[in-house]
Structures are given as structure tokens and as C-alpha cells.
């Protein structure tokens, strides 16, 4: 979707993800979300004088896991740095981060964009601490005062920076989804943008298509959903192209995405914020990561989204698209595989999950983890279809009831009396009756109108409320219409 083919965008992303440790990165305070304000702080994370931070080992391991998953090179020797700036969510007036000698450099993530596999290079992955949370009385620039909650201050973050390898907002969103899936598969972060435990900033510039020199870039912040990332980038790219076309300069500055107005606006009052005066953090000694430690973590890595997608295509014969949908989250892929362990017809399983289950869940904005239907129940339903107990059509009615009530398919079929009629004698009587009541279509059929039979099949289905076995209906109709026994002898 490029409305301005004479220009191309160059996008690099900076992604922050909260790590799922129990305690903060440099102190023992809990990282639990949603607790009473300022109830999870201590002298270390409040930046009181005379305290020493001590690094959380698990945060290091989670960062190494992530770096290995994007095929980064883990640094044997890495150090922390102070990033100095004043902001009320930062009690020490510096953030402990990494600058020179980050934990990992290089690597790549493969994404599927426009039906093509593309490699997005990773520049670095490093560890840092999160800042506190600010609440503004009214809008940020008009608030009389702001309130600070330091519970989040010191929660471990990984920062992942890509090379400027992305060319479209769609590719950026695609990359972000893939990276989130990786984090979730690794179980190192919840990766929920709306809740703020996954955040994304973008560096954007445009240039005439086909040229190599980079244009002046802006940084776009405050995009708190995949959809907003895409919308904000689309807006910013068009804004820059408009400026270039009219011969105006692009100013290198930070813009905030305003989702309600659908625009990016330059951020005021932070002109000098980029002069961070990084220097090595004297309170934390260097981290040395031995090859043995890296190997131990590498050996514990789970199957990653791309590998699982490929396996779903190869082992189950699923189309690429289906495999991509089913592996988008680890929980969904687990759900699917649990069904396939109980039911052999993989294609049937995937169809039911994709069209029925995900349909219901998406309508309610729910995740697979909130599904009222369990894999065992779905597999049981599919078994009932395959054994001919119910038709595929009735199964959809049963499924809806399963979704609404969480009951087993057997219970619903019993309660609603939905068992398929497969007895030739019982169904034969119904067919006879339908033929007697529909002399028109019967004579049409006999007069050579093959189509009239479809109307008769429909009439039988109506008479049985959809419970007739369709194959048997067809057989019986063929036999009875050919035999001429329209009216049973009485």
C-alpha cells in the first residue's frame, strides 16, 4: 500500500519489554502490576542516598534468552551505564541502562511481509530499568500538577533496537507482532502493548525511492497498540512526504502520537533531552557471561514461532496462512496441538478453531486463554461429527451452546435432542411422508428436472430439524424416486 511510489520510508524500531521476574532488576521489591501506589518501593528504587543496586540474575538470563532467540551475539563482557536526564518519574535523575558494551549485538528476525520473507536486522539487545508512572491532572501540557507512582520504577526491561530495515508501516507492525510472539514463546514477557508491558518507539525518515542517502528522521513515541503503530507511521510518513514535496525542511525532533486526533505532534520542552551524558555505572560491576552459561540457556530455549509455523506446515500439511494464524500466540498453538493429540483430522481441527472458535473469541475481544471451550471438548465434538452422531451443520449449533455454557458436546446433544437420524427405517418413514406432501417437486423430478431433488432434500432436513444424515437422505430419495413407490401402500 504505497500511495507515493516516488518516495520510500525508512523505519527503525526501538522496543521495550518488561521482563517477567518476580522482583525488580536492582532490588527485592515486587514487580506485581496494579498494586496500591508507592507500595512497592525501597531506598534502592527510590534513589535514596547511600544505597547500592544489585543485579537480578534472572533478568540477565531472560535478556540472554531473548538475545539468543533473535540470533544475537552475547557479549562476554558487558557493563551498565548511567543515562542522565531530569524527569519526575526518575528519582535518581539517571536511568541505569547499557550504552557501550551492551549485553548483545547483531542478530535478525524474519518476518513475512507482502507474501515475502524479509530479514530485519537487530542492532542490539540490552537491559535497563523502567521508570515510575506519571498521572497528569488533565492533559499533559495543561495539568497544574502531576502525580508519581514509583511501583514500576526499577522493573526490568529489555530494549531491542532494529537496524533501519523496515520500509512500510505494515512491515513495522508485522515485525512487532513477530517479536511479541518470540517474547511470549520464551515466557520472558507478557508482551501486551495495551497494558504497557510492551512499548514501541520508531525512527522514521523518507527519501526519494531508489536513493541511498537517509533523510532527516523524527522519533515517534506513544503508540500503544499494533494498530496505532501502523496508523502513526502512516501519518508521519505522509507528513514528511508533504513537507519534502513543498520544499520545507524536516526537523529532527520527537513526536507524540495522538490516537484520538490521529496525528503526531512535536513534543515540547525536551529539546536538550538527547544529551544524556552516558558514563559507566560505578555502582554495578561488569557482567561476564561465559560460553557455558550461554550454552545452558541456549539448550533451554523452546521452539520459537517461526520454527513452530514451519513444523505446522510440514508435519500437519497446513497452508502457510493457517499455520501463521495458529502460531500467532503460544497459547493458541498449544490449544491446537492439544486438539490434534485427541483428534487425528488436523485440517478439521484447524478449520474449527480458525472459523468457529476464533470467530467467537474475536467478536468478544477475548484471548484463546479465555476460551470457554477446552481442547478436549472441541476434540469430542469433532469425533461426534466423524462418527455421524451429528452433522456438521448441527455441530455448529452444538458448538455455539458449548461456547455459551462451557458444557460438553454430549451433554448439549442430549439436552437438545440433536442426535442424527441414521436409522434407514426411521428416516425412510420421514422421506415417504415428505414425498407424499410434495407431489409437485416429485413429478418435476420424474419429468427430468434433476434440480427438484434438492428441494426434496431440503424438505427432509426441515422435517428433521437438520438431524437427518445427509448421505442417507440422498440414498433413500434416489431409491424411492426411482422405485416409483411414492405412496406407501396402506
Amino acid at each position: 500500500m504505497n500511495r507515493e511510489p516516488e518516495y520510500e520510508a525508512v523505519i527503525g524500531l526501538e522496543v521495550h519489554a518488561q521482563l517477567l521476574t518476580a522482583s525488580k532488576i536492582f532490588c527485592g521489591c515486587s514487580t506485581r502490576f496494579g498494586e496500591a501506589p508507592n507500595s512497592q518501593t525501597c531506598p534502592v528504587c527510590l534513589g535514596l542516598p547511600g544505597v547500592l543496586p544489585v543485579l537480578n540474575k534472572k533478568a540477565v538470563e531472560f535478556a540472554i534468552r531473548t538475545a539468543l532467540a533473535v540470533r544475537g551475539l552475547i557479549a562476554a563482557h558487558s557493563i551498565f551505564a548511567r543515562k542522565n536526564y531530569f524527569y519526575p518519574d526518575l528519582p535518581k535523575d539517571y536511568q541505569i541502562s547499557q550504552y557501550e558494551l551492551p549485553l548483545s549485538t547483531g542478530g535478525f528476525v524474519e518476518i513475512n511481509n507482502d507474501g515475502m520473507a524479509r530479514r530485519v536486522r537487530i542492532r542490539r539487545v540490552h537491559l535497563e530499568e523502567d521508570a515510575g508512572k506519571l498521572l497528569h491532572a488533565g492533559t499533559m501540557d495543561r495539568a497544574e500538577y502531576s502525580l508519581v507512582d514509583f511501583n514500576r520504577c526499577g522493573v526490568p526491561l529489555i530494549e531491542m533496537v532494529t537496524e533501519p530495515d523496515l520500509r512500510t508501516p505494515e512491515a513495522a507492525a508485522e515485525f512487532l507482532k513477530e517479536f511479541r510472539a518470540i517474547l511470549q514463546y520464551l515466557e520472558v514477557s507478557q508482551g501486551n502493548m495495551e497494558e504497557g508491558n510492551l512499548r514501541c518507539d520508531a525512527n522514521v525518515s523518507v527519501r526519494p525511492t531508489g536513493t541511498a542517502e537517509l533523510g532527516v528522521k523524527t522519533e515517534v513515541k506513544n503508540m500503544n497498540s499494533f494498530k496505532n503503530v501502523q496508523r502513526a507511521l502512516e501519518y508521519e510518513i505522509e507528513r514528511q512526504i508533504r513537507l519534502l514535496k513543498s520544499g520545507q525542511p524536516i526537523v529532527q525532533e520527537t513526536h507524540l502520537w495522538d490516537a484520538t486526533q490521529g496525528v503526531t505532534l512535536p513534543m515540547r520542552g525536551k529539546e536538550e533531552a538527547h544529551d544524556y551524558r552516558y558514563f559507566p555505572e560505578p555502582d554495578l560491576v561488569p557482567v561476564e557471561i561465559s560460553p557455558a552459561w550461554v550454552e545452558e540457556i541456549a539448550a533451554s530455549l523452546p521452539e520459537l514461532p517461526a520454527e513452530r509455523r514451519q513444523r505446522f506446515v510440514q508435519a500437519y500439511g497446513l497452508p502457510e496462512y493457517d499455520a501463521a494464524v495458529l502460531t500467532a500466540s503460544k497459547a493458541l498453538a498449544d490449544f491446537f496441538e492439544e486438539c490434534t493429540h485427541r483428534h487425528r483430522d488436523v485440517k478439521l481441527v484447524s478449520n474449527w478453531i480458525m472459523s468457529e472458535l476464533l470467530g467467537y473469541l474475536n467478536r468478544e475481544g477475548k484471548e484463546i486463554t479465555e476460551s470457554p471451550v477446552t481442547p478436549a471438548q472441541l476434540a469430542a465434538l469433532l469425533k461426534l461429527i466423524q462418527e455421524g452422531v451429528i452433522s456438521g451443520k448441527i455441530a455448529k449449533v452444538v458448538f455455539e451452546a458449548m461456547y455459551q455454557t462451557g458444557k460438553s458436546p454430549e451433554a448439549i446433544i442430549r439436552e437438545k435432542g440433536l442426535i442424527q437420524i441414521t436409522d434407514p427405517e426411521e428416516l425412510g418413514r420421514i422421506v415417504d411422508q415428505v414425498l407424499a406432501e410434495n407431489p409437485g417437486p416429485v413429478s418435476d423430478f420424474r419429468g427430468g428436472k434433476e434440480k427438484a431433488r434438492t428441494a426434496l432434500v431440503g424438505a427432509v432436513m426441515r422435517a428433521t430439524k437438520g438431524k437427518a444424515n445427509p448421505q442417507l437422505v440422498n440414498d433413500l430419495l434416489r431409491e424411492k424416486l426411482a422405485g416409483g413407490k411414492v405412496h406407501p401402500e396402506e
Binding site: S30, Y87, K270
Partner: protein, 96 residues
Amino acid sequence: MKITRREVEHVARLARLGLADEEMERMRAQLDAILTYIDKLNQLDTREIKPTSHVIPMTNVLREDVVSPSLSQDQALANAPDRHEAFFRVPRILEA
């Protein structure tokens, strides 16, 4: 001269220091003397020496991921110049 008056003003602004005119010049002279002294290091050949970030020969001081008790809300807020319920209260952040 190792440092200009403009640079001193810039650094002072970054550090949120309001310096009077004569203080500005005094700081410039002192910083200049410090930088001149430090510059002596440039007389040494350090090509074969790795940058030193830490002088103590220690690495990997790590803690296990175990939660320990936090301060109470009142303890945390005890030194706050201003508070609102259990929040720290601060002046408006961005310029209007």
C-alpha cells in the same frame, strides 16, 4: 582553553544549575584547569590498554530473583516535599 563559556552554560542548563555571571566564569576557569590536568593522560600511549570502567577486579555480583519486603507507603513518602494521597505530587512537567 579547553572549555568555552557556551559549553559551561550548556552543561549548567543540563544539570539545572542557575549560575550567576561571575560564577559562570569561575566555573569555566576551574573546569578548564581540571581538563588541562586530565589532558596529561593523553601524553601516555594507551593503545594497548583496554578502557577501564571499574577499578575493582570483580564481576557478576548477582542476586536471586526473590521478593523482599518494601517500605510502607508512608515511609516511602516521608521525605516528599508534596504528596496527594499515596502519590508524590510534582509541578507541571512540560512547558505550556
